[in-house]
Amino acid sequence: MSNRYVNEPMLDLFIFESMQLIEQMELLIISNEKSSSYASDAINEIFRIMHTIKGSSAMMLYNNISTLAHSIEDLFFVLREDKPQNVDYSELSDLVLEGLDFIKVEIVKIRNGDEADGDASELIKSLRVFHATIKGKDLCAKDQHVAEGAVSHEDYTPEKQQYYISKVRTDTTSLKNTFQATLRFEPDCGMENLRAFGIINELGDLAEEYYHIPEDLDHEDSARIISEQGFTLLLKTERSLEEIHRGLLQTSALKDLQLNQVENCDLFNDLLKERKISLEDSSARVPASCGRDRLANEHEDNEIHVTANQPSIINVSVAKLDQLMDLVGEMVIAEAMVTQNPDLKGLELNNFEKAARQLRKIASELQDTVMSVRMVPLAGTFQKMNRTLRDMCKKLNKEVRLQLIGQETEVDKNIIEHISDPLMHLIRNSIDHGIEMPEEREARGKTRLGTITLEAKNAGGDVLIIIRDDGEGFNKDRILAKAREKGLIRVPEDEITDKEIYNLVFLPGFSTNEAVTEFSGRGVGMDVVVKNIEAVGGTIATDSVSGKGTTITLKIPLTLAIIDGMNIKVGDARYTIPTTAIKESFRPKMTEVIVDPDDNEMMMVRGQCFPILRLHDIYHIQTDVTHFTDGIIIMVEQDNKTLCIFADELIGQQQVVVKALPTYIRDTKKVRGLAGCTLLGDGSISLILDVAGLIGFRQ
């Protein structure tokens, strides 16, 4: 069934939109759950999201998703309208999140080209039971049919559904209006039958009974018929002409609409009889299940939704961005070739200079913009952790809060994709192994509520992501014992430092947790983390204080990240030092330089002594500047180690995109102290220095 309409761009849009909505909703639920009641704004928002998902999935004929979304929508409808007291919000969140998970799984199936065949009936059943309970507490009499629905859910068939609708109708209305509507679409809008189908889906909420010509929208010819003769609808509803008119006008690509009230119902009844027969095999209708007020509200929501959901964001493939960036790079070079053309030398060209300056300005702005497009803040990835945290806490009965710092730190899109999984693993580990049970925490004089801090910051051209918990910390002896047992220790045990012990946990097959839980303990987590981080060229380090907590630091390299760099010159070569690592730069005085008997040069700065590294020396560069007083000293610091780098001169500061050295170079030899390279504005290449690596030279 679902294959029949598969239409690639629409499917992509559906997947993209639904995923976004689901993520948005997850955030909403989690943030609201904390305050243990749902704000009315949030309820409206969730209601709207579910309504959208319901509509779009029904349109794409994913019935399991649409019915589930419908149930959740119903639930939030009750919350919104009746504002019932004593709702168990945590149970509600559980149910809804479970529902979202189901939808997510289905969407992934769809994306992979599989049939979305998951069975949501169990979920829907529990949703209905919940629905019934909150309703029951408030107004038991009014909505018997909800409970009825829950009971009779197992054989929830179209026939039943139809009966149900008409029952509502007889219950709530005495007068009915019959309308005839003829819709014509814009010529060449395409997919007329699909559009018509969309209208019918919306009608499920507006009208109780309807009939349409052409009858069979699945038929190939229907699109042609609709485009030639228009799409005719007959509907029975208790809504006014105006309301129906408004509802139908929302149809996209609508050219004209004729809507008349029909006094004589005979035609309708005749057609309806036919329809009842043909309907047996059509399972794609959206069940319309609630009463009158419900419909009115939903209608309003539709309107808001249409105006508010105009996307201001588009997604672009990263490959295209790469290409764009290369092109801009080329343009910058071409610009330099024109404006600094040797043929122009010695000529007095005032107007040309003016125009060239303008060109240069625009080119550099363009370059900056393109560079920034690829950068994505970590906020999204961090926010996702809230969900992990919540689920874990529920299952393990722990109380933990997540503190997020530096969410706005921007990281290249590629890197974000690589660190999401490791972060999740680490958070899980922290909750499972690190944070103690609330009672235990109290007994130890800690606050009942554990805290996990997730912090991101730029440091020395790297992005540091720090996961800190205030749990019990690593147990050194247990780690050692385990490592000994698994034969993971290669150095004499009395020489091993605390830090080295802690880092043992990152080895494959290491897990001290005796009980394998759902979340951790198989000893695979940590080495997967390491693998993922290493895949983007990062490193991982850990520190821990027994009883106080653990800190795990991920250092993501600058690959592809944009850094602020200071360009320096040594001989003909240019180097870039990440500005964040630079403490100061100055012209040295000979009196400050000390040479020890091994010919190591050192510099006295404000009473402290730092080693000097001559760049031209270590990289064998020809330069005239070998005397300290002719060049410049740049003092850099990383990991609390300081080094004075001696270079010829400073060129200037600029934002650079870090590119990796070509694979061929990296395979030939890993050059110490080089982190990558970058293109300067004039098209020349500058090598980016790795401060930590340089510090290693002098140790």
């Binding site: 290369d326 790079g329 560069i621 590119k659 030939t668 080089l674 293109l679 090598l687």
Partner: protein
Amino acid sequence: MADIVEQDTQDQIEDTQKGKFLTFCMGSEFYGIEIKYVTEIIGLQPITEIPEMPIYIKGIINLRGKIIPVMDVRLRFKKPFREYNDRTCIVVIDIREVSIGLIVDSVSEVISIPDEEIVAPPNMAKEGNKYIKGIGKVGSDVKLLLDSDKLLNETDLENMSDL
């Protein structure tokens, strides 16, 4: 469907490229490299040196935003270094996704050498011909056909140990 068409054109390209070699000269010898590996020929560019590299890797260049390493083939073959002039070219080749520029004295032409005109290099004890895949005969001339793979990937033990 599109794939099949693409495959076809791909095959055609392979066919038209088969047996064709780009020849370049170094000193008095002519060398040939299979045309399918060659992406483009560019003039000499400013080269950024990379420290600690073997002597034949001159550094990296910026080829329209793409950074590729360049290798001096003369030095690779342990011939004496010759000053670059305006005949000096960089032949950019692409082998299994790895791009590299080869600095050669000058390029001459693209010629077809049928398989039957190619003979295996004489089996000499000296390791001098390890980068030569075959010797092509064109009229009375002889072209040494390079084994691009080895040129790139054979690690020069001697050079590595220097570092």
